[in-house]
Structures are given as structure tokens and as C-alpha cells.
Amino acid sequence: MTASPTTLGALQGVAAAFTDAGQTSTGEAVLFWVLAPLMVLGALGLLLARRAIYGAMGIVFVMISLAVLYIAQEAPFLGVVQVVVYTGAIMMLFLFVLMLVGVDASDSLTETLRGQRWVGVIFGVGLAAVLIAAVTRVTYPAPTGLAVPNADSNPVGVARIIFGDFIFAFEVVGVLLITAAVGALVLTHRQRLTRRIGQKERSDSRVARLGQGEHLAPLPAPGVFARTNAMDVPALDPYGEPIGRSVSRVLRVRGQEREFEEFAAGLDDEEGGGTVGVPLPPAGAPGETTGPTTTITTGRGSEVQP
């Protein structure tokens, strides 16, 4: 933790402004009543959001607000650690894994255990009711505040306890962190069981499959022969049939490919539009000089092309 003494001093000043020997000031009450409902909303966002990313953003908001509340509660060191460790490291790790697993990995809404949703909701409400009742009915001593332990600034007071009473726990926690790091490395390590397939192997296999529907040439461009250059409209082959491969694979996977029928429906209504999509009559035999005649209607009128 490398927060400069001036920063911590400033935070300490903020904390001192908010508290007066454990009694909350009006400023702290305003801060609490502004932040608390927003924090509950952020937490509910985690519970209700369909997409994991939205839930993660709600939790990030809750964690930053908690850091503000820590600073207001005379714990500036914990406030800084909360921002750096929780929002800075842990939640960003969550976001990395969300991106790795796939942002679209949203929840399935089918219930595998019947009635699990209602049991869960009843459990949550009941837990809140029991805990709130327990917390509010206990009589606490008059709050003493942290003016005395924080006399030499809050980090110094915390450090005296960590490196005094809790020195063994501190070292054990260091071992725990090392173990966790090694564990993560071991868990995500993947041993290669098959040969690596590189560019050469891919190219060889494509050439080997040449006669079985594999094309070595580039895929056809989308929409060029369908009177539009839109990416999502398939190209037409000479017989007027849409070529599915001409639309990008990504668009096809996403289901954003436009159906050719839908596209062709508007063509006939246009002024001077031709009839696209009707299969042309088959071409004549090889060597035949007069092929079938096709009427092409253009903006200038009707032309007959031999």
C-alpha cells in the first residue's frame, strides 16, 4: 500500500470532519442516507440483472460506496484498501473472467428444482428480518469512537495491531496468498495432448479435401449480385439463388443475416425495378449462339437483350 502520508492525512481530515467521538454528524447522516438506498439498488441489480456484466457493475458501485462509508467511519486505511483490492483487483478479475467465459453466458431461466425461486426469496427475506431484528434489539454501549486509537493516524494504529497481536495470522495469510497463486496456475494450466495444428496443417487438410466441397478460393462477397452491397444480404448465384456462404459467419451465427425473400419483397415495388430472384431459364447448349432472351426493365424502359 503506497498511499502518501499527505493523502492519508487528507482522508483522516475527512474522517474527522464526519465524526465527533463516535457520534455521527449531520453530514455523515446525509452521506449515509444518500448512499445506502443506492447501494441496496446496486446489490439488487446483482440479484435481478439478466446479464452478468450489469450485476458486476452494480457490485462495483456497492464496493466503492462501501469505501466511502469506511472513510466516513474513521477507517481511511480500509477505505483505500477497499478501492485498490476489491474494486481494483477482485472485480476487474471478475470482469476478465466474464469476458473470457463469454458475455452472452446469461442465465437459463428454467427451474430445475421446482419452487426453488420462492424458497430462495422466502429464505432471503426471512434472513433479513431475523438479522435486522437481532441487530436493532441489542443494546449497545455508547459509541466511543476511534479518536484515541487513531491518534497516530489510522494506518499506524492498524499496523501496530497487525504486526503486534496478529503477526502470526499475518504470516499465515502470506502463505495462503502464495498457495492461492500457485493453485490458480495449476488449475488453469492445460497440458497439450494432441499435436499443435498450425497454418501448414490447416492448409494441407484443405487441399486434401479439395474434391469434397472444399473451396480454396476466397468466399464470394456478400450482396454484390443482389443489387446491394449490404453485408447482411447474401449474394446471388447466376440462377438467382442466394449463396449462404457469402454472408459473414459472425452475422450468420448471430442470426443477423437478412432473409433473401424479405429483401426481394421490396424490389418489385421500386420504380423500374427488375425481377431479381426468379431463376433464369437455363442457358443454351454449348456452341449455341442465340441464347434465351430475357426482358430487362431499367429506368430507361424495357430492353430486350439477345
Binding site: E28, L47, A52, V62, V81, F94, A105, G120, G124
Partner: protein, 99 residues
Amino acid sequence: MNLTNYLVLATILFSIGATTVLLRRNAIIAFMGVELMLNATNLVLVTYARMHGDLSGQVMAFFVMVVAAAEVVVGLAIIVQIFRTRRSASVDDINLLKS
């Protein structure tokens, strides 16, 4: 303002986190519910430290943060590994032991 308000807020956050763990099937969201519960307990610890004028509560909250960091690293590694082998991050799909 009474300091108990902080405890009530922490209680509500804890309950929401527990409900999230129970209800959501996505392993990552359930894991974030665990993080929410840890944060709520930290708020309780900090509030008690202020109530009793003893910094030990803040030290315990600090240790909770460190242990949470270690736990997140291992837990997310497990989730990534399960996703690699099963192509799914849902806790419902992991029923290998089911008869």
C-alpha cells in the same frame, strides 16, 4: 444518526448476497453474491470497531479482504477450468455425481 443504521444496511446487503447465491444459476454471479456477503460483514466489523473504540475490528476486516482475494483467485480458476471442459458456466450443468 444511530450507528445501528450501518448494521441494518450491512444486514440487507448480506441477505441480498445470500439470496443471489441461492437463486442465480450462473456460477460467476453466484460468486459475486459471496463477495457481497463478505463486504457486508466487513461493514459490520468496521462499525463495531468504531462503536467499541478498538481497531481490532478494522484489522479483522483487512484479513477478510486478503482471504477474499485468495478465494477469488482459486474460485475463478475453477470456473474457467470448468468452462473449458464443459462449455458452460452454469452451476446446474455440473451434475456428474447424479446417479
